[in-house]
């Protein structure tokens, strides 16, 4: 199996074709961050809504390659229902993992762990990252 076949796993394709929590809401209780990767046209917006200390909702929209769009979808599913601290921990470790940096492997990245294959494609790491970076920025912005 080529590394690319390894990367385009069913989970990723499934999220690419049936993106979850897609479409933005016009609701001031959400925090919105927009990130672009101008070199390839990737363009993702992420919204998060905190209720108390919990991620009550997380939404995404945009366009880009399969890695970019699917990882935005996976992000939203992973985050909804987590505490803010859990969410931050997962996201920072996810970002370390895709960048091939040491990360805490005891943390359950859930479905997002399928992106481990991206490490073989350093030029695509940014695609797998921007939604997650945008998400972290929404949490920061809320502070």
């Amino acid at each position: 199996m080529s590394q690319l076949e390894n990367l385009y796993r069913e989970v990723i394709m499934e999220h690419y074709k049936n993106p979850r929590n897609k479409g933005l809401v016009n609701d001031p209780s959400y925090t919105t961050i927009h990130i672009k990767n101008p070199s390839c046209g990737d363009d993702i917006t992420v919204q998060s809504k905190l209720v108390g200390n919990y991620i009550d909702d997380c939404r995404q929209d945009g366009h880009g390659c399969s890695i970019c769009c699917s990882s935005a979808s996976v992000l939203t599913e992973t985050m909804i229902g987590k505490t803010k601290e859990q969410a931050q921990l997962i996201a920072t470790n996810y970002l370390k993992m895709v960048k091939n940096q040491p990360f805490d492997e005891t943390i359950d990245l859930e479905e997002a762990s399928v992106y481990t294959g991206i490490r073989q494609f350093p030029a695509r790491v940014k695609c797998a990252s921007i939604a997650w970076m945008a998400f972290l920025d929404t949490l920061k912005k809320e502070e």
Partner: protein, 401 residues
Amino acid sequence: MENRYRNDFPKLHQEGYVYLDSAATSLKPQSVIDAVTHYNQHLSANVHRGVYFESYEATRLYEESRQIIAEFIGSQIEEIVYTRGATGALNFVATAYGLPTLQEGDEIIVSELEHHSQLLPWQAVCAKTKAKLIYLPLNAQGRITVDGFKQVLSSKTKIVALTYVSNVFGFLTPVEEIIKLAHQVNAVVVLDAAQAIQHVTIDVKKLDVDFLAFSGHKMLGPTGIGVLYGKKQLLSRLEPIEYGGDMNDAVGKYTSEWKDIPHRFEAGTMPIAEVIGLGEAVKYLKHVGLDQIEHDTTRLYRYTVQQLKKIDGIQIYNEFSDAGIIAFNLIGVHPHDAASFYAEQQVCLRAGHHCAQLVIQWLGIEACLRASMYFYNTFHDCDQFIKTTKEAVSFFKSVGF
């Protein structure tokens, strides 16, 4: 080896390397690499001010390159200004010529084919002078035509800033007629030759073009060096926009005097090794011959497009490129996804908007793939590209795209 130039390019000694990204930057022949190394290793002296051998020799080579380049495009020596690239050259024209010349209501003709380096400097000048950008209508294929140009040319036109060859479609602009028409209304023509200089024989005097810009790294030369050609009587009128060592005559506490062109525009230590390397690149281009280059590149291009068209699931955006460029997509596959597939097979091409977002918008797409070939490519390269394309189509189908 079927291609007699291939051996001169050390990168092509790498087994299985299929380089189809020459429009982004060209590979460098050994002679260019060696010229840079020679300066770094055996000279390593500053120019224009030294009496010892190494400094004198560096100066001689630096000015000899200017002569080689001038001969290559048919200009006078002093009409060749070294810049850090085509981008630097085009910004210079916009700032040094455009900014002080233009007034509210004046018009600059551009096209949606422009590379950002020819578009954005003029946008900025318009913001400052209130001159207007006027887009000529491209024809259905996406070409700049004389007809389209006539529709926007008027007595308000002061500058015509167009690409000579588009970096996405590879279409050649009919520059001869456009320049003649532009001069009838006294407009000044600035050509972006970054994709033309390596493909088309350019004679600036015959063309009668006013300014022409190109980059070393797309014409077999080093990075960090480019050229602005400007007509002597135009250049002589311009004030420098960068000031520093080596561009001045007498310096006083409050006012100073400049050298003559072209040195007036070359402030500070210039990219000496890179200038010398560029001279060597031009020698290599002359040695092969631009006619030969075009002949070889065109053959490869025609063959590849014919093969590509046979593949189901491919969309080609520019079937009749004049410069070996194929802009295309795998239908339903984002070009960034596709590019990774090619990369895994060592087939090097580019995905994105190619610094030409307006033509991507004109196409109504998000981005595309671009394969660009040059005379050092082979039919074998083309076959690898075709084969990989076929595999890519079925791979992405198989994983569910």
